[in-house]
């Protein structure tokens, strides 16, 4: 019974992450439903080695990747170099970002970058937790996060000018 209660209490976070990954409300809830059905069916195999929520997130992420292999969304493989900065969108650096722009920009991120950025920025996971959930090395996670943030910056019209940080592969004058 306790596992079921823990599964139930994880539903809001699973829905939030799924919605941010997929945008579409119904498709996101389909993904959560699938994840919950898998988890409930396998609950007797759950060995209690770690938080139930992390197990659920791993199921959700695996199912999301299965779906995505089948139906890669547009925006896949957009290289940052190919993105045009639209000067009209340059905003006041002191103000918040326009939510619609951020939402559209998130949708254009490659899937691996979107998964990584959302698990950290939205779900508040630590880098170690996030790497574990996504089943990638921490270094890979860091480079995906850096690329996601840089791409998002360009796509929201706040692209880097002279203030680019030194880092692997990103050196500029």
């Amino acid at each position: 019974m306790r596992v079921l209660d823990e599964i139930e209490s994880a539903i809001p976070a699973l829905r939030r992450y799924a919605r941010a990954l997929m945008r579409d409300r119904d498709r996101a809830d389909d993904l959560v439903q699938d994840c919950l059905e898998r988890a409930v069916a396998n609950r007797h195999l759950w060995r209690g080695d770690g938080p139930v929520q992390a197990w659920l997130f791993r199921i959700l992420i695996n199912r999301y990747r299965d779906l995505h292999r089948r139906d890669p969304a547009p925006g896949h493989l957009v290289a940052i170099e190919d993105l045009a900065v639209e000067p009209v969108q340059f905003g006041d650096p002191e103000s918040g970002l326009a939510l619609r722009e951020v939402r559209d920009a998130m949708a254009r991120l490659p899937v691996d970058q979107r998964e990584a950025l959302l698990i950290v920025a939205l779900e508040g996971k630590t880098l170690e937790e996030a790497a574990g959930l996504l089943e990638i090395p921490k270094g890979t996670l860091m480079s995906r996060l850096a690329r996601a943030r840089a791409t998002l910056r360009v796509l929201t019209g706040r692209g880097p000018g002279a203030d680019v940080l030194p880092g692997p592969g990103r050196e500029r004058k």
Partner: protein, 262 residues
């Protein structure tokens, strides 16, 4: 930026932004940020990004959970309560019956045979198996037509359609449990597709087509994109174990299938 300290790297800044530094290192980082306007600007931008992402999607967690999701938990709790109320004997009898059903086929082993060049028929088999996997593994609502809980119906139906007595093998040792099966087309008529899943939600399929080969073939391997398949043929039937799990794991599962199916 005329400062003697090296500029902050992305990795350092990401670690700091994730709040992953111990307090004294975080304090040192803060001090370095004062002298590094570029890094400070980047950090401020990231914080704006995080705030926007939380504003966009944070409220989803406050929404009432749709009934179709809570219903899954409700049904499971009701099922557990019924299970506890039922005398224990019923469950043991079921497990014993499953063991008996799986016992035939034990005691045989896999004999390494010469690797042959796949025939055209075998290649069709692999490509049909991979296509069937890719079609149904993504299925959310109806991954299988008949679920494993209706084992007897599943076995009768599959055996009848294929014209051969077949039973799904057990992959519990590899952590995969049977979800159920469905009938799919093959070059020679109806084929069976069994789907299995591990606790992490990874899925594999076992495809059985009514197409035999003489002489019987050894294990062969095919790959298409990320999807891999081990397949082989015996006198009456062809088999393919397909998935995106690591190749060695898939091979072990295929061996287990071979041992149990012969």
């Amino acid at each position: 930026m005329m400062t003697e300290k090296p500029a902050l790297t992305e990795a350092e800044l990401l670690t700091y932004a994730a709040g992953a530094l111990p307090p004294e290192e975080a304090a040192a980082m803060k001090a370095r940020l004062v002298d590094d306007p570029a890094a400070s600007a980047t950090l401020a931008e990231w914080q704006l990004q995080d705030a926007a992402i939380r504003d966009l999607y944070g409220p989803v967690a406050e929404e009432p959970v749709p009934d179709r999701l809570t219903a899954i938990i409700r049904r499971a709790k009701a099922g557990d309560a019924a299970e506890q109320a039922r005398p224990k004997q019923g469950r043991f009898a079921l497990i014993a019956a499953t063991c008996a059903a799986l016992a035939f086929g034990a005691g045989t082993g896999w004999f390494a045979r010469d690797l042959a060049t796949p025939s055209a028929g075998a290649q069709t088999l692999a490509s049909n198996a991979i296509r069937a996997y890719e079609t149904f593994v993504v299925e959310v609502a109806h991954p299988v037509e008949v679920s494993a809980s209706e084992a007897e119906h599943l076995n009768t139906w599959m055996s009848k359609r294929l014209g051969h007595e077949i039973r799904p093998p057990d992959f519990a040792a590899a952590g995969f449990s049977l979800m159920g099966g469905r009938i799919v087309p093959s070059a020679e008529g109806a084929a069976a597709l069994y789907m299995y899943e591990d606790p992490q939600g990874q899925r594999i399929t076992l495809y059985i087509a009514p197409e035999g080969a003489s002489p019987e073939t050894a294990f062969q391997f095919a790959q298409q994109g990320e999807t891999q398949s081990f397949y082989w043929m015996d006198r009456d039937l062809s088999y393919a174990v397909t998935g995106t799990v690591p190749r060695e794991m898939l091979r072990q599962i295929a061996l287990a299938a071979y041992d149990q199916l012969i």
